[in-house]
Amino acid sequence: MVKIVSQRPKSLKDKIFHYCPGCGHSIVHRIMCEVIDEMDIRGITIGVPPAGCAVLAYNYFDVDMIEAPHGRGPAMASGIKRALPDRIVFSYQGDGDLAAIGIAESFHAANRGENITVIFINNAVYGMTGGQMAPTTMLNQRTTTSPDGRKQSLDGYPVKVSEIFSQLPGTTYIERCMVNSPAGVNKTKKAIRKAFQCQRDGLGFSLVEILSPCPTNWKMNTIDSCKWIDDVMSNVFPPGVFKDDIKARATEAAV
């Protein structure tokens, strides 16, 4: 008898990704769809893709989706979730989308404790537009708009979303992961599952930040990109659980 050890998740459409080789988006899409399948929530999930490389996410996710204008995902997701509280609603955002143009919408959705999940892809660069400086670009990192490297005196510092958002009493679960190794991918999947479960249990705002390679705009090969996350990026953006109030909230809810 043939035993299936791996197959395309049902929630992932049978389409070839348009993402560049070595990009983290396709990995994250896949593990999200695996989680959606495992939790059997495909039929009640509504996703909000961003402006950015993942704008075409609806080509891959076989769940209901509505595209948000740049940065407005959490506002739109708040509207959907408030209108349909029993659905699972996620906003999928990049670093420019979340931490620059959409910081207000993201911050306030978190602060309201909206019962939604934000999947935050941090690749330290604007990918879709060709590699400009992002709010999460590291000091001295060269981009097309910081050709001499990001200078604190001119451009300020990389924005640490997980650290900042975990300070908000409205948030319940915040973890930073990396998809640059099989172990990292497994850990990221667990975090996504935990975030969706947190939402399903009605426990409030969850965010999973994912350090994700962008070889094209980092001008590195795929292996060096994965190494760079380990050697450079994760020093500025250390992985870990920044907030886990799931048990406390569950106890509160039970009382």
Binding site: V55, D64, M65, I66, E67, P69, S78, A83, A104
Partner: protein, 356 residues
């Protein structure tokens, strides 16, 4: 039918809730705050009603876009500078064909301007306002009764044409009180197939405004354009007041039309045959109706609380077949009926002539 004495901003809120609006998001701005406050107090008492005070007008429009996609009847409101912020979302709702009602209680501009009644947002409202090839239906109520009726109608039109619809009033309309009767709302007719509520066991759907293929995008633009043509063809509304034997007709909407009626009474009392042509829909503009009137009336005076914006639509409608004069007071200045009567009397007796 019960009669209520309420201020304009409250009337819009009450009419919206009666029409089945169950999702409102807004951000405080004068002179429309009473509407946001009314929704805060009453929306949460309505079954399934959601009130959200947003962190910005940008967030508010995207919250209602999300709730609209999820199938709720939605509304947001603001005043001029806040409406500028909403334009990205209005463009997006037009592109994604999401119904929703946007209320603009106009104030003086440009920039922060002031909080006095004004009509400087006519171009923004009637030309789409945001980026791209689109239009929004625009209703311009001139009485509190119309605020109630048109707010209810706006939801029906938004659903019928799957498009954002704007109520364009000003600080005067928002603040003044008049008796009002709320009509019985029509039951909502909006098919579930347009809603995004989770795929269930079926096929998943997506709603998008981005069409990377230029030919797809062109076709989408033409599809919207065809829809707008149907609206232009069928949905214009206007009022003609004492136009039958008029020598001159004032063209004015909203608060300006109210002032015009006061002026007309004075002018009629002094024996001048002056009427009023009042567009109720600003887009679609009742162009053919105005052109038809020019067969009887040969002189028009456009009166706006702006430097002259609807004036362009009147010119396009009359195409040189009639003489057009203009009187405007921008920036939050509200003229009296006596002032307007003096201006019209000078034009009427041909002492002043400003042909546009």
């Amino acid at each position: 039918m019960n009669k209520f004495l309420m201020s304009g901003n409250f009337i819009i809120g009450e009419a919206a809730i009666r029409a089945g609006c169950r999702f409102y998001a807004g951000y405080p701005i004068t002179p429309q705050n009473e509407l946001t406050e009314y929704m805060a107090e009453h929306m949460r008492r309505a079954e399934g009603g959601v009130f959200l005070q947003s962190e910005s007008e940008v967030a508010a429009i995207n919250m209602i876009a999300g709730a609209s996609a999820a199938g709720a009847r939605v509304m947001t409101s603001s005043s001029s500078p806040g409406i500028s912020l909403k334009q990205e979302g209005i463009s997006s709702m037009a592109a994604c064909e999401l119904p929703g009602v946007i209320v603009n209680i106009m104030r003086g501009g440009p920039g922060l301007g002031n909080i006095r009644p004004s009509q400087g947002d006519y171009f923004q409202a009637t030309r789409g306002g945001g980026h791209g090839d689109y239009r929004t239906m625009v209703f311009a109520p001139a009485t509190c009764q119309e605020l109630a009726d048109l707010t209810m109608d706006a939801f029906d039109y938004a659903d019928k044409y799957r498009t954002p619809v704007m109520i364009l009033a000003d600080g005067m309309m928002g603040q003044m009180m008049e008796p009002v009767i709320f009509k019985k709302p029509k039951p909502r007719q909006y098919p579930e197939k347009f809603m995004l509520r989770g795929a269930g066991d079926g096929k998943s759907k997506f709603i998008r405004g981005l069409l990377l293929d230029p030919i797809d995008s062109e076709e989408h633009n033409w599809k919207l354009a065809r829809k707008y043509e149907v609206i232009v063809e069928n949905e214009t509304r206007h009022e003609e007041h004492l136009c039958d034997d008029a020598d001159l007709a004032i063209v004015a909407y909203g608060t300006a039309a109210r002032i015009a009626k006061g002026a007309i009474k004075r002018l009629q009392d002094s024996g001048m045959k002056v009427g009023l042509f009042r567009p109720i829909t600003l887009w679609p503009f009742p162009e053919m109706k105005l052109r038809a009137l020019s067969e009887k009336v040969k002189r028009f005076l456009v009166f706006e609380m702006s430097t002259g914006q609807m004036l362009d639509d009147v010119r396009l409608a009359l195409q040189g077949y009639a003489q057009i004069d203009f009187h405007g007071r921008p920036g939050g200045a509200v003229p009296t009926p006596a002032e307007l009567a003096n201006v019209v009397a000078r034009v009427y007796s041909k002492k002043a002539q400003t042909v546009y």
